[in-house]
């Protein structure tokens, strides 16, 4: 789309780029953001940075405060306390500057059903102050990018949910914004459409910094450089998905099935170095042991040696690591009472 932009916009963009490369300032900076609706506190002291060029996933159960945070960033709601800036501009006092640099796809992609796709995109390009020649080029570019070419002359009201989502996305990237903010871009799509959307978002991240929210962890893990997990208005985990997985998944579990004298097996295995606790169940002649190891110690070798030394039969030994998914499920099911104490930067 670069060719479609007027000279001044290109010059402006390269200055913006130079500024951010030179200073290393984050593209999105959020500091101690608080938003209250009456007595309800929707978000409670959120801080994070999104660096230029990153894809950041904003993860949390429904009602965690994702949409509220996003609405503050896009200038739709003002914050009660705290500050936020996008591309160096304050979202409250320099709202118009921020809005020019943001491409925003709200949850459920609201659009005017009576307008045709091309007509809608033309309307939006004019709101962004693009000339008709620039707009025409930009529209062609985003339409092919979002696989909408066949549908440009269809009224939006006739399109399926997935299609409308794409029209919303096309609108968001129309003016080649520095930052793309997408609120639940995969909700209500079928599995194929979800995969397509995610790969499109990944593709878009080559030109734009992307912040997108979701309540489904695997989607976020798949395409994000960083994840921010938020629950009840607070950040509970923040970092690269892989690192977070290692950090949050504190323990591991071993399942071993051994044939022999049950009580003795339990005692001997319990005495192995690194073993924290052992539980035993008898299953058609086999002793099924569930072993908790201390930290991330691997005691599989010890168990094997013990069994062969004593002449016990060993038919299965399996290690299960707690994943980020387990941790996330724990949060979403409400098992984590106070998020703040658990917050870490991985």
């Amino acid at each position: 789309m670069e060719h479609a932009k007027p000279l001044f916009a290109r010059v402006r963009n390269s200055f913006v780029q130079m500024y951010f490369t030179a200073t290393g300032d984050p593209m999105i900076r959020v500091r101690n953001l608080v938003k209250r609706f009456g007595v309800v506190t929707a978000i409670d002291g959120i801080s994070f940075d999104v660096e230029k060029g990153q894809v950041v996933g904003f993860l949390g159960p429904n009602g965690a405060g994702k949409t509220t945070t996003i609405r503050i960033l896009t200038g739709y709601h003002p914050a009660t306390e705290g500050s936020a800036s996008v591309a160096g501009f304050d979202v409250l006092t320099q709202s118009l500057h921020v809005r020019r640099r943001i491409g925003y796809l709200p949850e459920s992609a609201p659009l005017y059903p009576e307008m045709r796709v091309r007509e809608y995109l033309r309307f939006r390009s004019k709101l962004h102050g693009m000339s008709s020649a620039d707009a025409a080029k930009a529209i062609d570019a985003v339409v092919s990018r979002c696989w909408l070419s066949e549908f440009v002359n269809r009224p939006i009201g006739q399109l399926s949910k997935g299609m409308r989502q794409r029209v919303g996305l096309a609108d968001a990237i129309l003016h080649d914004p520095d930052v793309l903010i997408l609120d639940e871009p995969t909700v209500g799509l079928d599995p194929t459409q979800i995969r397509e959307s995610l790969s499109l978002i990944r593709e878009l991240s080559e030109r734009h910094t992307v912040l997108f929210s979701s309540h489904i962890l695997p989607q976020v893990e798949q395409i994000c450089d960083e994840v921010i997990i938020i629950n009840r208005g607070r950040i509970v985990a923040y970092g690269a998905p892989k690192k977070l997985g290692e950090e949050k998944a504190a323990g591991s579990r071993l399942i071993a099935e051994i044939r022999g004298p049950g009580a003795e097996i339990e005692r001997a295995v319990g005495a192995l170095p690194g073993v924290e606790s052992v539980e035993r169940q008898t299953h058609d002649g086999w002793e099924r042991l569930t072993i908790r190891a201390r930290g991330r110690d691997d005691v599989r070798e010890g168990i094997y040696k013990l069994a062969s030394q004593k002449g016990w039969g060993l038919r299965e030994i399996r290690r299960e690591l707690d994943s980020l998914e387990d941790y996330y499920l724990k949060i979403t099911s409400g098992a984590m009472e106070d998020g703040r104490s658990a917050a870490v930067r991985a």
């Binding site: 118009l96 609201p110 659009l111 005017y112 939006r124 962004h128 102050g129």
Partner: protein, 239 residues
């Protein structure tokens, strides 16, 4: 300004895509057409628009203009498109003015259809074009004020029915109740009520006089309601 005209253009095109515009046009043209034929366009009748412009049109406008303004903002709130609109690089004032102008142009289209009447009258009689001119000035000012009231209530609710009823009630109070109450009063209270009475300010236009007082009255009230609409929109961001 370019953004205001973009927004106005969209509103105008939506009117012609939705059934409501045709309903409104039909009501307006049917009522004024029937009255024109029976009251004005008959032998011996006065060759002027006064039969229509004095009472009939202002009263029809109380009913139909809320119908064309009700969806302006309500519909954006209901469908959630307000979020894409208010996060685009446009100010709240751009949005309000754009919507106002869109509705205004649609209203002018409705009014333009009535230009047929003075033309017909000139063929079979003579028309006082000066008076016709002042009538249209009055109708444009009156309609602009009604539209700003409708737009204001549309900013308060996502429910179009509530918006239309509220604006209808306020316009009816200003049009009918004020005059009715004025009949019971005298002296200063009467004068105050008279100033609230929209028809008192409009009637001179229908009589053929463009009086500055009345022009100022309509322009200020319209500006006031547009201002209140902008403030309402701003305040909605905080909720």
């Amino acid at each position: 300004m370019k953004r205001v005209s973009t927004l106005a253009e969209r509103e105008l095109s939506v009117y012609f895509l939705s059934p409501i515009a045709y309903v409104v046009l039909t009501i307006f043209l049917a009522v004024s057409g029937v009255l024109f034929i029976t009251q004005v366009f008959s032998p011996g009748a006065e060759s002027s628009l006064r039969g229509l412009s004095n009472d009939v049109w202002p009263i029809i406008l109380v009913f139909i203009l809320p119908m064309i303004t009700m969806r302006l903002l309500s519909d954006e709130f209901r469908s959630g498109t307000i979020e894409t609109l208010m996060t685009a690089p446009v100010t709240d004032a751009d949005v309000v003015l754009g919507k106002f102008l869109g509705a205004m142009v649609f209203y002018l289209v409705i009014l333009a259809t009535t230009l047929l009447y003075p033309v017909l009258l000139t063929i079979w009689g003579s028309v006082d074009w000066g008076m016709a001119f002042s009538t249209y000035v009055g109708l444009i000012l009156l309609g602009g004020f009604f539209i700003s009231v409708g737009l204001f209530f549309s900013a308060w609710t996502s429910n179009q029915v509530i918006a239309v009823v509220c604006s209808f009630v306020l316009l009816a109070v200003l049009m009918f109740l004020a005059r009715y109450l004025g009949g019971f009063l005298s002296g200063l209270p009467r004068m105050l009520v008279q100033h609230v009475d929209v028809r008192y300010h409009y009637e001179d236009f229908a009589r053929g006089a463009v009086v500055l007082n009345h022009v100022v009255y309509f322009v200020t009230l319209t500006a006031l309601f547009l201002f209140l609409t902008i403030k309402t929109l701003e305040s909605r961001r905080w909720r």
